[in-house]
């Protein structure tokens, strides 16, 4: 009986020491000043960055980061730290981490798949991506939203 009690204490112990940590699971995420996507951006955080959760407001976490406190969309964070990106651009990683990064559906698997599927239009996908990649849609489309009374600029209803 004593042992069962000890087991449950061990199980609950981490809860008391728990500083809730999340990791960025998108290539870049915006650290926002307010808990809305149309809020001004305080900083940009990279893939895998760890943040400490302070609280939750709607679909946003209030988080503490090295760049200060702000809000990040719940969907852009994950509990488990993602593996290194298979692109590994500009990142210093050990050979073991490189090995880990190659496990999964990634750039290497796509490259292998392309060899046996030459009819697929990857070149066009690359072209579309390069034409439609916006580092910060919040600022890139601000004038568009303002002109159309959308997002943070919306007015009356019906």
């Amino acid at each position: 009986m004593k042992r069962i009690v000890v087991c449950f204490i061990l199980m609950l112990l981490p809860l008391s020491l728990w500083a809730e940590v999340r990791h960025v699971q998108v290539e870049k995420t915006r650290l926002l000043k307010k808990p809305t996507s149309f809020s001004p951006v305080a900083a940009t955080l990279n893939y895998r960055t760890a943040v400490e959760v302070v609280s939750k407001q709607g679909g946003f976490y209030c988080v503490q980061t090295k760049q200060g406190r702000g809000y990040i969309s719940e969907a852009s964070l994950t509990v488990k730290q993602p593996k290194f990106s298979s692109k590994l651009s500009g990142e210093y990683v050990s050979s073991e981490e490189v090995a880990t990064a190659t496990k999964g559906f990634n750039a290497q698997v796509e490259s292998e798949y392309r060899k046996s599927n030459p009819n697929l239009q990857y070149a066009v996908v690359d072209q579309i991506e390069s034409h439609t990649h916006y580092a910060n849609p919040q600022t890139a489309f601000s004038a568009f939203r303002k002109q159309g009374k959308l997002g943070e600029f919306q007015g009356g209803g019906e």
Binding site: F8, A99, K103, G104, Y113, T132, P137, G157
Partner: protein, 288 residues
């Protein structure tokens, strides 16, 4: 004694799991190892494999390939002004949704295809056919179509289309390969490519053929929310569906879907109104 060791092992690993260090499958597996129970270890192994979900990066690569497949059948309408406009409308909607960011961002593009259709691929690649663009008469209607597709992505409908057997097979192999060191298996990449093929084909089929009536309705209702949050009139979704009858490509009975949408809007009270300035720019781009 053995049982106590197993319970202790499972408890310890569940407690670590609460801090994000392990999964229940791993907990059971380690518990089994500690106790020397092979059955428990093997059960944990199976659970661990089924715990493995596709990461956001993997969904992005699946989405790229699904997009490359769609583009093999219908070419990209490569017009700078139209592409920019689709991305302005699309990103405004995405930002208003519960999924404002994707792994590598959202990408909206038009396909030269006379059938009225739109496609949502994992990873945030969204396509609208020129046939469907031709049916849209206002920016709000275009937004309604894109909001519906964004809703499919948020609700993971394309990924849910992967057959359970393919999902299990891929998850088990990805876990197995993940435990190996690089170069340990020369044929690993070819095997992964084969698994990737199964997954991609399931998603392409679903994206091209459409989803069940229930999933289409769920996407309609979430689209209404997204449109309201962004500032577009949600009635535009019912309007564009009302004009879909007789057009091949779109899924479900448009009249039934439009009716349900209008009923939902009625319960919401005040919703955003149409705005003339938006229609002006829509006409400039679409030439309607």
């Amino acid at each position: 004694m053995k049982i106590m060791r197993a319970v202790l092992g499972v408890c310890l690993f569940i407690s670590l799991g609460l801090t994000g260090c392990a999964t229940l499958g791993k907990a059971v597996k380690v518990g089994g190892q500690l106790a020397g129970y092979q059955e428990l270890e093997s059960m944990g192994d199976s659970m661990e494999k089924s715990d493995r979900e596709f990461t956001e990066e993997e969904k992005y690569y699946i989405g790229r390939t699904v997009g490359a497949s769609l583009l093999a059948d219908a070419p990209w309408k490569n017009e700078a002004q139209l592409t920019l406009y689709l991305n302005e409308v699309g990103n405004t909607l995405a930002m208003a949704s519960s999924r404002p960011e994707m792994y590598h961002g959202y990408h909206f593009a038009a396909l030269v295809e006379k059938n009225a259709n739109a496609f949502a691929c994992p990873g945030g690649f969204l396509f609208i056919s020129t046939g469907l663009l031709g049916i849209c008469q206002t920016e709000d209607e275009l937004a309604a179509v894109l909001a519906h597709e964004i809703a499919h992505i948020i609700m993971e409908h394309p990924m849910e289309a992967i057959q359970a057997s393919h999902q299990r097979e891929a998850a088990a192999s990805l876990v197995k390969f993940g435990l190996r060191k690089a170069g340990e298996s020369q044929g690993e990449l070819q095997q992964l490519s084969g698994l990737f093929d199964n997954v991609v084909k399931d998603v392409v089929k679903a994206v091209a053929q459409g989803y069940s009536r229930e999933k289409e309705q769920d996407a309609d209702l979430l689209a209404v929310e997204i449109l309201c949050q962004a500032g577009y009139s949600p009635k535009a979704l019912a309007d564009v569906l009302g004009r879909m009858e007789g057009h091949s490509g779109y899924h479900g009975d448009p009249k039934v879907r439009a009716k349900k949408i209008l009923e939902t809007i009625e319960t919401k009270g005040k919703t955003p109104a149409v705005y003339a300035q938006r229609d002006k720019r829509f006409k400039q781009v679409s030439g309607h």
